[in-house]
Amino acid sequence: MSKNVGIKVTINGRLIERVVNVRLHLADFLRQDLRLTGTHLGCEHGVCGACTVIVDGEPVRSCLMLAVQADGSNVRTIEGVALSKDLPHPVQTAFKKHHALQCGFCTPGVIATAVALLEQNPVRTDDELREAISGHICRCTGYQQIMDAVREAADQLARERLQK
């Protein structure tokens, strides 16, 4: 039960080496061991999506992944989403503009999903966006303003890609 294992993970661009208990999940590793408390736990059974982080480009429920499984991978959390310290990611900017967050507890997970989806390919139909966001539970917003924000961010990122 208490076996410990050494892991190396790149988190928000920094290589982290730690010894972790094998039963520690990734969310607790991020929150407790690394004090990256922007990742929130909403249900711990993999449904609500609040704890979603980006692992090797894919959105992952960090409550369903063990820290040891992240060994050798590249993890981005909400603390590593912004383009720079003062420059928010277009998804973050759009969330603010469209009032796509209220209490903000589920928001880091929703943003992780949106960022991963749009960085893979920003050209997305409304149905694709809705399908992706439906992996999250938000009790405050009713989703409409989230959908508006993600739509706007997708369009902006698609335009930027065309210009490149």
């Binding site: 711990e44 539970i137 009713g142």
Partner: protein, 775 residues
């Protein structure tokens, strides 16, 4: 150009830390030496506790202590305080912080383990051995009313209260009524499901005998007051702080056993102790609401003018009384809704069951009242073959009748009187947005494709801005920064932005120069809480009044310093200056500095210290009433029972809006909460009182793919009852939603003659209803 006037659709000042992941919720706070708690909870709905063996748990490495109620004997004893006493309460039974010899619902706290980590605490909690004798449990509220099984051993019955309300001569009205219809209406228990579960962190300073509690609460002042009362301390020594709170929706306004136990554990160990509720605990230990079952009778004259409504309800209060009678009371006071009835007679039996205790959730009792009223109005319409929009037109309170006394009594005994609003206009607007006139052709077209469409309407009123007060201080700092301090806690509603907009507007400064600090009993002396859509009305008005006093004081001081009359002073671009002469000007910071002064330097004559003011806008029983109409179009798959919401139109009136972007967010979130109640959310118990829906696979919340585009129209009837002309907007989205959806689904199934008077309308329920029709 300065930003942040009243009425501007601006981005929130709260958002940046939330978007960058740096906002701090209770579980994010760092605290040296903190220990972690896990609770041992009852697996039985009703049982006698024979013995609790904590030995194996205490022996586990990393465990600091295992506490039962007995462990706290030197510090505290007895049941937790009754938070809202009421003369009608027959059995105001509250919980012990930790159960002593009886447990009355699955999830009741029995013992707490405090350990080095939450992981160890949970391992140890599983090692605590509790010996029980299971007792008979009662779950159905109608069974509970009969009283053959009692939810509490030794209690004479399960009656919490028998409430009565109404006005007029109901008997005479029914005698005159040309049409009378009856119905039985069932509304179901559900949960709040804030995405941040509850959480408590407590630190005790032994030398000064001071407690600091960080709690994910909507009512830090209630936590301070009742914990202090329980521990025999002064509220000034029990400081409670609500940091970022991840949604509340009502249940976080109650004071919970864990909010007593965690401070007690911190006092016992002289170490900070933290407990964070997990979702499994939330499903059984955070208060829920519902069930209510009503039998009603409604009578109308030959013209479809509704005369009277009579109803008898049974209200499932759950196992204890965590929040007085506020939930059942708020399900009676909204009668007769937006309609002019001559008489209403209501009786509500409030009963204990062996289910999780109940308290208000978004809308509190108002969605039940709206559901009962709107189903009743629909029933009369059906019976008389009058269009559902038309029956409402014939019965609305008219704008010319404002202020309109309904006849019902408010909590303080005064007669409930609506302040303003144009109910017919809201209906017409919603019908127009929904293209109600075009619906028959849409339905006919769909019918040809084998699809069943339906449309539903629900109108509502909402009492908002409940008193007595929520105060605020506006203080100009030396730097010119303006600080707003208030007791008003926030769980995501954007209060800080709203307050800052009001203050910026009054002082003529940019919103960027304003900071808001709230929900800390150590910073602001008194407060009530974020309940009942009240903060913009109460705290907003206080901010407005305090900011006006600050402005006046600044003008008076500038006039004194320039030796001119006050009329010669103007406030422009954040400066207080001689009218027409910007060279003779002061910043707010300059003026604040004069009133802070320095040792030996007297204040200007006639001035008190500090460029600041505190106001407690007194909200009396004359509160503002919001209103609106929702129209919803649905498609029902008659083969699977699945309901798809196609179009949702909201016309509502919450008076003047301070920030329409935020109001939209409140309405959208509220509507979707109501859609969950109408179609998805089912907190199921078996006959032994075992909850059966305790994860998000079994208890379904709305997700993005369930939601149609929701269109909103704002009508504006300013309230004459506060200086801002505002009304609350937090719950109006939820209140009529279930009524509108059920009306629409019934309409879609009209070919089958199916009558729907309950929610949630699960696919299983609809399939059974269709099958029962025999068509």
């Amino acid at each position: 150009m300065r930003a942040g006037k009243i009425g501007e659709r601006i981005e929130r000042i709260e958002d940046s830390t939330l978007l960058f992941g740096t906002a701090q919720f209770v579980d994010d706070l760092e605290m040296d030496g903190v220990l972690h708690a896990a609770f041992v909870r009852s697996p039985h709905a009703h049982a006698k506790i024979n013995a609790i063996d904590t030995g194996a748990a205490e022996a586990l490495e990393g465990v600091h202590a295992v506490f039962t109620m007995q462990s706290f004997a030197q510090l505290a004893q007895g049941r937790t305080p009754l938070t809202f006493p009421h003369p009608a309460l027959k059995q105001g039974l509250t919980q012990f912080p930790l159960a002593v010899d009886e447990v009355c619902y699955v999830g009741e706290c029995i013992a707490v383990v405090v350990a080095e980590s939450r992981h160890v605490a949970e391992d140890a909690a599983a090692l605590v051995e509790v010996s029980y004798d299971a007792l008979p449990a009662v779950i159905d509220c109608q069974d509970a009313l009969k009283g053959q099984t009692v939810a509490h051993q030794g209690a004479p019955n399960n009656i919490v209260a028998h409430l009565k309300g109404g006005f007029g001569d109901v008997t005479a009205c029914f005698a005159r009524a040309a049409h009378v219809v009856t119905d039985t209406i069932r509304m179901h228990r559900g949960g709040c499901h804030s995405m941040e579960p509850r959480g408590v962190l407590a630190r005790y300073a032994r030398q000064s005998h001071e407690l600091t509690i960080w709690s994910s609460t909507q009512s830090p002042y209630s936590v301070s007051r009742f914990v202090a009362q329980y521990l025999g301390m002064e509220t000034s020594d029990v400081r409670v702080i609500a940091p970022n709170v991840g949604g509340g929706f009502g249940p976080k306004a109650a004071v919970y056993p864990e909010e007593y136990v965690i401070p007690l554990a911190a006092m016992m160990l002289n170490r900070p102790v933290k407990w964070i509720e997990d979702r499994s605990e939330h499903f059984v230990s955070t208060t829920q609401q519902r069930d209510q079952i009503w039998t009603i009778e409604i009578g109308a004259d030959a013209n479809g003018k509704i005369l009277a409504l009579r109803g008898h309800g049974v209200h499932d209060h759950g196992a204890y009384v965590p929040y007085g009678l506020l939930l059942p009371l708020t399900s009676m006071s909204p009668f007769p809704g937006p309609y002019t009835l001559q008489a209403v007679e209501l009786q509500l039996d409030v009963v204990f069951t062996n289910a999780t205790p109940t308290s208000p959730i978004r809308g509190a009792g108002r969605p039940y009242a709206a559901f009962v009223i709107e189903r009743a109005v629909d029933r009369i319409a059906q019976h008389m073959k009058i269009d559902r929009a038309e029956i409402r037109r014939r019965n609305f309170v008219q704008p010319t009748q404002m202020p309109y006394p309904t006849g019902m009594l408010y909590r303080d005994g005064s007669i409930i009187t609506y302040d303003s609003g144009d109910y017919p206009a809201c209906l017409e607007k919603a019908l127009q947005m929904a293209d109600y006139e075009g619906f028959p052709s849409r339905r006919a077209k769909a019918q040809k494709q084998g699809r069943a469409l339906g449309i539903g309407i629900a109108s509502y009123i909402e009492d908002t801005g409940v008193g007595p007060y929520e105060g605020a201080t506006v203080r100009v700092l030396r730097t010119g920064k303006v600080l707003i301090e208030t007791g008003a806690p926030s769980q995501g509603q954007g209060h800080a932005t709203v307050f800052a907009q009001i203050c910026a507007d009054v002082l003529g400064v940019d919103i960027a120069s304003i900071d808001v600090r709230s929900a800390d009993t150590g910073r602001f002396p008194m407060g009530v809480g974020a309940i009942g859509s009240r903060i913009a009305v109460t705290a907003g008005s206080s901010v407005f009044q305090a900011a006006q006093s600050v402005r006046q004081k600044a003008i008076k001081l500038a006039a004194t310093l320039l030796n001119v009359g006050e009329q010669a002073i103007e406030v422009a671009d954040g400066k207080v200056q001689l009218r027409g002469d910007a060279t003779k000007s002061f910043t707010f910071g300059d003026l604040a500095q004069r009133l802070i002064s320095a040792p030996g330097v007297a204040l200007p004559e006639g001035f008190t210290a500090g460029l600041e003011s505190t106001a407690y806008f007194p909200a009396s029983s004359a509160i503002p009433y919001a209103n609106g109409t929702h129209v919803v179009e649905v498609e029902v798959d008659t083969g699977t029972g699945l309901v798809r919401v196609l179009k949702y139109s909201v016309a509502h009136d919450c008076g003047n809006m301070i920030n329409p972007l935020i109001v939209d967010g409140q309405i959208l979130g509220g509507v979707v909460h109501g859609l969950g109640n109408a179609l998805l959310e089912r907190m199921e118990y078996d006959q032994l009182g075992q909850p059966l829906t305790t994860n998000y696979g079994e208890y379904l919340l709305p997700i993005a793919s369930d939601i149609p585009r929701i269109e909103i129209a704002h009508l504006v009837s300013p309230s004459p009852r506060n200086p801002l002309g505002v009304k609350g907007a937090g719950e109006g989205g939820t209140i009529p939603a279930a009524a509108a959806v059920v009306s629409a689904v019934e309409d879609a199934l009209s070919a089958y003659g199916v009558r729907l008077s309950s929610h949630p309308l699960t696919p299983q329920y609809l399939i059974r209803s269709i099958a029962a029709s025999g068509l």
